[in-house]
């Protein structure tokens, strides 16, 4: 019996050792894969020092202040490479590997401001700062200062990275429920958790919409004359969760509209909300009851078409 127990222990140790080796091997492969996505040199800018590689546990060591944003989007690993060139500003390229293409899109959408510059699946550039996403990767290339040469290098590094990332990734399906009429494309924000909503549009101090890592949410602005209304759509794991969240939201935010689903808020604008299946939709800051209701109905119509 004693010998058999010892053999079992040995087998367990061997299995653990093999698993450990496999994990280390896979991790090493991932590091090498990430490293291979970034050029060593471009336009006279050369990689400076060792690359930084950070995972979910060590991201705080690299990013001061924004790590939670990436963790909320199910970030896996980032590879950071700094480029230098004599008499020119340094350039930092960061490649963030997310668990899904939807989350790569999400982190891109989080602070999108400008139109596309044709790199990756969506991109923007301003003042020495290029952001884009492609596949499961979100990429940031930042020059310490913009010069004509650094701008060219930033774009070149971005293009080189985008070319190596294959294949393209799927966008979040919930985006298809956004009615296209009057939609401001650069205003679309995709997120999961309350912190994402708080950042873009504070609704309440408590989590009245029951947002968490299992929910998909999209917030977008719509041009309505001089006003900008916001449409929020939240997808829940099931209809029960959606109904519970809708109930909590209505009680907290627009209790007087429990029956009608539409109300005028204290700023003179209109809010509306509906629940359909596993989705809750809310409109904020519409200029009239008709506009608020119209946007909600348009979203419901899209949802019924797209979700079939």
């Amino acid at each position: 019996m004693a010998r058999r127990g010892s053999t079992v222990r040995n087998m367990k140790c061997t299995a653990f050792f093999l698993m450990l080796c496999l994990c280390l091997l896979l991790e090493g492969c991932e590091d090498r894969f990430m490293t291979g996505l970034i050029p060593e040199e471009l336009g006279g800018w050369k990689a400076d020092g060792q690359d930084g590689i950070y995972d979910r546990k060590t991201l705080y060591d690299y990013i001061d202040g924004a790590a939670e944003v990436y963790l909320a989007y199910d970030f896996q690993q980032v590879l950071a490479r700094r480029f230098v060139k004599f008499d020119q500003p340094a350039i930092t390229a960061d490649i963030f590997h997310m668990r899904s293409s939807e989350d790569a899109y999400g982190i891109f959408s989080f602070e999108r401001e400008a139109g596309d510059v044709g790199i990756g699946q969506d991109s923007e550039y301003a003042a020495g700062f290029l952001r884009f996403w492609k596949g499961k990767f979100f990429v940031s290339v930042l020059a310490d200062r913009e010069t004509p040469a650094s701008r060219e290098a930033v774009m070149g590094i971005g293009r080189a990275i985008a070319d190596k990332i294959k294949p393209d990734g799927a966008r979040p399906k919930i985006l298809t429920f956004l009615p296209p009429k009057d939609l401001i494309p650069t205003s679309i924000r995709y997120f999961h958790q309350k912190s994402g909503l708080d950042y873009h549009y504070f609704v309440a101090d408590k989590n009245v919409l029951g947002l968490d890592e299992k929910t998909d949410a999209v917030l977008a602005q719509y041009k309505m004359g001089k006003s900008k209304a916001r449409l929020l759509i939240v997808g829940y794991p099931n209809a029960n969760s959606a109904a519970t969240a809708f109930d909590t939201f209505m009680k907290a935010y627009m209790p007087e509209a429990r029956d009608t689903g539409v109300t005028q808020t204290e700023n003179g604008e209109w809010a509306a909300a509906q629940v359909r299946g596993s989705f809750v939709m809310a409109v904020f800051d519409a200029p009239s009851r008709e506009k608020a209701d119209g946007l909600i109905q348009a979203a419901i119509a899209k949802l019924e078409v797209e979700d079939e």
């Binding site: 705080y60 001061d64 924004a66 790590a67 944003v69 700062f129 549009y201 101090d205 907290a252």
Partner: protein, 294 residues
Amino acid sequence: MTKDEHIITRRDFMRGAAAAALAAAVGFPTEAVAAAGEKSRVVLIRDPAVLDGKGKIDPSVLGHMLDEAAAKLLGKNRAAAAWKSLVKPTDMVGIKSNVWARLPTPPELEEIIRQRVVAAGVPASKVFCDDRGSLDKFRASTALINVRPARTHHWSGMGGCIKNYIIFSPKPSQHHPDSCASLATVWDLPVVKGKTRLSILVLLTPQFYGRGAHSFDPRYLWDYKGLAVSLDPVAVDAVGAHILRTKRVRHFGEDKPITPTTHIAVADRKYHLGVSDLSRIELIKLGWTKDALI
């Protein structure tokens, strides 16, 4: 959520009700009616000559600014007397700066503070300046001068004097939830508790909005050319947050979304570290007043 839990919503802001409670909850600036009690004093000093056309600091102008602000803050006629009232020759003085590469505490200012502390009688060997270096040195210190630039911060809304001590926490990330609401608890740790003699918020080129993984975008720095000094880290941060927000509104035409500066109001109302209501802050403005934004 419990059934009886009070929920504060955006509509409460629209109603303009319960401003103080709302400010505590989400950190929006408020001009709420002052509560009884002493005001905290903040001295804001600005000088257009402190930076040249290329953004280079003139140390002599900066030194003069700091001296004048310290004297005014402490009600002394001479800066030397002010510094002597802040530190004793027997002190071990740590200057807690900030090394964030894109907007660090200016080395010129670190050196000026070091000189003033030495001139006040503290042996040079007992004055050090550090950020993320040896925790043991900070543990051994008996007095701290807290100095860092003001900037928007992705998770706390603003990186200011309160947040500058987060590095003393055994686990900084534990303070990140709810917009870093619990940051003031760091000030209760033995390494810093009761040691801070002066808080200096550097407003030479503050950052009023940030983007990207590094929360940095050079477009959103501006030459404010100021320093804000106080004995109250909460008050000096409240002044800084107001200036950053006002600049944001002025620049964008609206208040762009940033994480609310909850931790400043919470540091006041929950942890009683200082005063966050502007109406309870005695703000003394010295020097250049153009576009002071407060």
